[in-house]
Symmetry: D2
Subunit: 415 residues, 4 copies
């Protein structure tokens, strides 16, 4: 088999100790191509950057294109770059056929010879060029409007591989850990240290210091309500993503002392206690909003009370399994996604706790630069998240309540 | 401790071999009450019904009320029943404070001295009395309108415990099985027999013979696409509940031969293949609908093609993790729930496959009388479903593809 | 189909609120038999016992025998009992063909017209009659000796269904709870209360007050070492079943501060740290025994140190995945089982923590009368245990370290 | 912090596309050292090998030693190698304190200036030099004898990093896949192709062509008995590692048509059917051996019958959860490990199916050069195995029966 097609790509940065060069070469071979390495210069110290020119060869132009598409997210950009190309969207909500689909890594496009940062980067979006080709932003498919200049093809686009972070904590390692059999202590301790630092930063008005929690109702079933409430009250949490169930169970606990009919303190199953859940939702619907329920003193304690009092930015998203739902729940999934997206700028740490749906949905919206911890008793959830392939996603197989209580204890909560 | 309060309840039907009497007595004791059994008459054969009068005693009126609320779902109705009471809803979407919350069991209310069936029964709804107090139907909280006559309290309401089904198949046993270590063969064989019989019934125009599948995208990832397509084409499936991902992956497989970037036949991971997923959704958005994509020949094979051609009733519900979404996906969760609810009458068997969200959401909408199978590789999902506590929910811990292929083979598919 | 065969069985005791009558009738029907209920007398209060005579009918003598075998473990004994029958074992380690296989419920055999308790009851053993037919004990297959009088058939044997315990704690309910989504708090609190009471009893010399822990190495990986050490030092644990790995990791933590190469305090993975594990084992082998290692001051702290100092009865059983193994590990599985069996009399509570192998092996040895808690992050393990079908096995889906630390905190440990 | 200590190491081979260089640099940084890269020469094509000299620097001699220990398993050997050092073992079963602990990678020691292959390599053993320092073999701790010349320290030892295999099948990729959501089809197809090729090789008398199955009883519970029997009968399996339960359930299925009391064909749970299990074991004990039971016609079909007839090399290892056990089960875990170890030479593919214990135990014994597939419905098991970190361990989250049936179908079995 001859090599019908070849192209030269360039890699630079910390391509050795970030495994980037290795991954690129591996991908080429795996997909059936071959390569010549030219001009490899490797930084001799930790701080010097490295650079490699790689001639990629493939048996057909089609295969070559596929390989180039596959290595591009690792930062391999075509040598001799030209400006990026755009095409006008033909209809609202529909991208051109050959639109460029983003990764969650920092991305630049070349416009008039200059590399411009794409704003609002997140996975699986299109890129729209605006302002007379002076700026570019990532855009969900549904938000594109007829006539928008959408980036197409692969030329003039480059992805910046993540640098390994300076701190030598749990977020700086190569492999995120998801095993139930590994010790959690140091991970929790590192996360707590980040939270402490972020709280200080946030109080000092520093940007990028918000902490996001995306959580499911198992937090409450399993006994993590007090810990999460404490963390909110102490100013450690600034954004909360959840569904209908977490707030409903939280307020049920306040009104009835149960969660889905399970007594939380007295500790007895109350048969048909699911009623409490419904009555709670119905009651808040009658009052009109969670805010009013807290302010009027109907809801006195717990996560919702703390969120309202501390001004936490809450996004509640509805699903087809909801009862009610509670007032404030955004039932339209596109609108809810947009509200979540809007709440992300400024987030410096994301904790995804005990909710597959919210973990994956939030994971999709987070740029790779935001350190992320995914906690679930089911190992499949952290695995799913860590498949995203960045240094920053750390998985933890443990129950939500134990995680939150350990974090709270590290940060100074009693008992 | 004296007995400040007592009340007599009556149980009748197959209360012995359905464990009903035992559960009622157990609940009374567990909650701190005591009982005297009066006039127990036990049917001497399988077909004779039994009857028991139980004097329930408790230390306080409050505890007695709680106990009566807890035993009522088992069919224990108060002796000397009066008509049910109603109260007008004070606002749209809000039930009166003491509304009666339904179970998923057949339920009757007493109106003008007569026991009337409540229509549209499902779990966790209110009951509205209509037609000049001649009929009653179950209603979601959000659908109640100001002034509706909502049933309140517990008097004049009775729940009919399920009879054990006549067939001696997997649906007729006391405990649904969820262990990964139990043999699946006979369960699959029983399910297949039901499906065969239901297809015959459905073809003959018999009511209650539809088969519902609620499924997640793992069906496709894991290799169950061909089997499900075959089942639809052969007329075994009549209703399909899914999200955005299952149809997107199905059509991606048709257009690109991949599923989330995993090659399905050639069998290689295509890096950054998530693009195919996005391009598929974008393409169908451009075409305008799945139906048009099938009819115009763009989509040629697979689950969607089969559904369109066989007229399967599809409800696609959106979530916050969706890309796109596809045209036809109902993004509002309340509207999607309503569409699912509308599709359930006529269903005689429900298969909940590889989707926690759809399994739980569909489970909530199904009356206890519809035989249900929940299949998931994660044992937590069937456990969640079988917590519903009816004879009919059978759990199966196995991967979705293997299940569907085994079912298809039992029903005559090749390979 | 006529009824070729019938037999009358008698049930007595708390057969209603223990579900026993219901289960017996259900089993008869499920297996294809029918029944007539004769002379049902039901205790009118909690303390009165009930009694039922059931005529069991089946289409063949073989089926009837199978049904009788199936209902017997629920306490259904044949009317008109005769003495039990025995046959001499033909060879060492081999029971007669039709030997009676025990359940884990209290069992009696009739000898010379009198019902005699079978000693040493546990699941799946034979029964040997001794002392000139004056006593009977349960015996593992491998321990039977040629000529032993082994009980055969079903006549003259009765199983006593468990009474529901008097305490209204987590052990007294009908269904053991295994869901990860249910609150753990009250279960842990009930277990802690039992442990407190048992410690008092044990200190006062009361029999049946030992607490058994059977545990796996995940206790240490996940950070539960300090809590378990504290519980042992404070006198809450009296018997420990484990393998080679738990003591090895415990002593590795003492010698090197790591567990399988994971730093426990500094919190960093030490590559190839598995070496520490090997060096620990090798070192203890050199010293000769764990006891000597503790007494000589080589091992200063942790679970092993506490066990040696507090005189905890340890049984360490080897497996094919062991390195070493440590001195004291019983490598022969039959000998290890015998050592475990010997340690069980006197146990009043069993905690099976984070080890499928030890949980199942210990579960097999425990009579149904010993309250048992099974803790594992994998829901399949508690499910397996609770399949045993007694009131006493409570499942808890949570990680071992969190469980032990919560228990220790309930019992007064700091932090 | 100055650099109190430094040392130069050399890496050579396919150190780029095997990620080896990246991992070594990462490890150095992670542990707190720094490095200078000197003389990096990178092979320009797939077939040329690369070479790097790395100056490793650390703040203390102790840290330097730890880092060198950590990078050595990746193939980093000290420049200017001298011969390896040995010390005589002081007692039977105890290695010298500073013994070298093996990895599962091909290893050489330098003796009299020459690099000699260490035979019998597997993880976590010592190395003994024999034959007047002409050869070296890996030895379990328990097998070392007083006076044996055991390799100590790190000098004169090198580990050869694995080459990526030539075939482009599932075993040649960087990351083993364990997700339940990835397609299994191509993995199964690749495994089947290997098995076909190995059968041909084995029939032709080629070495290294045996296929090993290490399996648990879930194979039988879940319905994989026929498929495994077929594979054995057709000559695809040559070595079987199992416990007491798999053969007992297999023969129970033959004698009674049940597995742990679950009917396999008729498909009904037979209450207390655990008896069948016991009676099966007792019967085989009476006969004396599985071989005799097959040869005498008592056992007619199934896995054991096929193994006996086809001369499969079986190792049955006992555990503390066994009933009986069956004759032939090796109850001593050290002896069983030795028997397994003896059966491994000649194995060219290992399938670890539905048994955590056997998967881990076998995984410990396998050199990294043997392609290995680990199949379990619980994702934690393949994760545990793939933590071993070689190219060759492929994880598959699916149930055992489906796996075996799919493999059998790929290899030509009917239905």
């Amino acid at each position: 088999m001859g090599h019908a097609a070849q192209e030269t790509v360039v890699l630079s940065g910390h391509i050795i100790d970030s495994l980037i060069l290795a991954k690129v070469l591996d991908t080429i071979l795996m997909m059936g191509g071959t390569f010549d390495l030219e001009e490899v210069s490797i930084g001799k110290t930790r701080n010097e950057s490295s650079r490699a020119r790689i001639v990629v060869k493939a048996g057909s132009a089609k295969l070559l294109a596929e390989i180039l598409r596959a290595v591009q997210p690792h930062g391999a950009s075509l040598e001799g770059e030209s400006d990026c190309q755009t095409r006008a969207a033909a209809a609202d909500g529909v991208l051109p056929d050959d639109f460029y689909a983003t990764t969650h890594l920092p991305t630049q496009v070349r416009l008039a010879g200059e590399w411009i940062d794409v704003t609002g980067i997140e996975m699986d979006l299109g890129i729209v060029v605006e302002g007379n080709r002076s700026c570019a932003r990532a855009l969900p498919m549904a938000d594109v409007r007829r006539g928008d200049a959408v980036v197409i093809g692969r030329a003039g686009i480059r992805v910046l591989p993540l640098q390994r972070p300076q701190e030598r904590d749990v977020f700086s390692f190569m492999e995120s850990q998801v095993s139930a059999e590994r010790p959690h202590g140091h991970i929790i301790s590192d996360v707590a240290k980040r939270m402490e630092a972020l709280r200080q930063g946030h109080r000092a008005g520093k940007p990028g210091c918000k902490v996001l929690v995306a959580g499911g109702p198992a937090i409450i079933h399993a006994g993590g309500r007090e810990a999460l409430t404490w963390l909110i009250e102490e100013g450690f949490i600034h954004v909360l993503f959840c569904g209908n169930a977490l707030p409903a169970h939280d307020m049920e606990a306040d009104l009835y002392g149960t969660s889905l009919g399970y007594g939380l303190s007295a500790g007895r199953v109350v048969p048909h206690g699911h009623e409490h859940h419904l009555r709670t939702i119905n009651r808040i619907r009658g009052i009109g909003s969670i805010e009013k329920a807290v302010e009027s003193g109907v809801i006195k304690q717990g996560i919702m009370a703390a969120c309202v009092r501390r001004g936490v930015h809450m996004v509640m998203a509805g699903t087809i399994r909801d009862d009610g739902p509670l007032p404030g729940v955004i039932t339209d999934s596109v609108a809810a996604q947009a509200a979540m997206r809007k709440a992300i700028p400024g987030v410096g740490l994301a904790l995804l706790v005990a909710s597959t749906l919210h973990a994956v949905a939030t994971g999709n919206l987070l740029p790779a630069t935001i350190p992320t911890v995914c906690v679930d008793v089911n190992p499949a959830v952290p695995t799913k998240l860590s498949d995203r392939g960045s240094f920053q996603a750390v998985g933890l197989v443990m129950d939500a309540a134990s995680f939150l209580r350990d974090i709270a204890r590290e940060l100074g909560a009693q008992a």
